[in-house]
Symmetry: C2
Amino acid sequence: MHSIDAVDLDLLRALAEDPGATTVALAQRLGISRNTVAARLARLEDAGAFLSFDRRIDPAVLGHPLLAFIEITVHQRDLARIVEHLARIPEVVQAYGHSGTADLRVHVVCRDTDHLFRIDAAILRIDGVERTETSLAMGELIPYRVQPLVEKLRRGT
Amino acid sequence: MHSIDAVDLDLLRALAEDPGATTVALAQRLGISRNTVAARLARLEDAGAFLSFDRRIDPAVLGHPLLAFIEITVHQRDLARIVEHLARIPEVVQAYGHSGTADLRVHVVCRDTDHLFRIDAAILRIDGVERTETSLAMGELIPYRVQPLVEKLRRGT
DNA sequence: CCGCCCGTTGAGCACTCTGCGCAGCGCGGC
DNA sequence: GCCGCGCTGCGCAGAGTGCTCAACGGGCGG
């Protein structure tokens, strides 16, 4: 098992700055050979370091600018079936199992509050769902980022 | 202002299937000219359709497999300063303003529960933070996805 | 201490892809 | 009917890719 080293971290950092960068560009930026860059990239790739491209697609551009978090309380034993039903709702972009009072936390994107209301209703219609608690995200105060973490690891390595 | 059309949606779909695909590959897959692909891609790009590359980096590979949601209640007027402080914690990967009882929802990645505990403590130390409520994500039941939404729009267009 | 293994390196090769400009064409708006 | 725009195919020079190769160096076990 190979673990992430300083070179990998530098690579991730460079990639974050310019996701479209070519192998050669990355190589000369980091001062290493392009063969090495390709090798590292491949290694990261099949270590599963890169998540789906979907994560980079902005739902706002798709006409769904609103994000809501819905906590769902369910009959525990029906969990699998319920998740299956949730997966059929296109506006459900993500779902987590959840410690605490609720059992499920669902991330939902929508056109407007009315749309959200209808999605919530759809979720409530799923058999086994007991109650939902919706909260609206009012602006992404810190946009998703991993770089500070990368920097920290980089310094620590 | 151009809005997203069927070609763009197909492009996003193809891209999701193979994020590394070349312009030519995408072109022949969609049966359009490579010039068009390049043009569309550029247009999507500066329409802001693509979010930061960070979103594709798996924190788990960075040694932070745990994800937690922390709801924070704050003195409203101190919000900006508090967010600034939160931004200095590398493990804070994202933060939303929040409707409902809490004012802030923070997404945090960590090595283990002990690590989480220390991060929570750090947040509580920030001046103006009144209380926090942490819940742990127990598995990503539906991994982040936009494709179903893309498909839906595609059919509707 | 020696030899082996592994990752890195630079070089070289054929091939593909890119970025660009260009002219033609179909379609909707005026 | 005319204009403008976006799509298209073409072609070019230049850059990048995937691959292989031999050489080098550090780390490790024998």
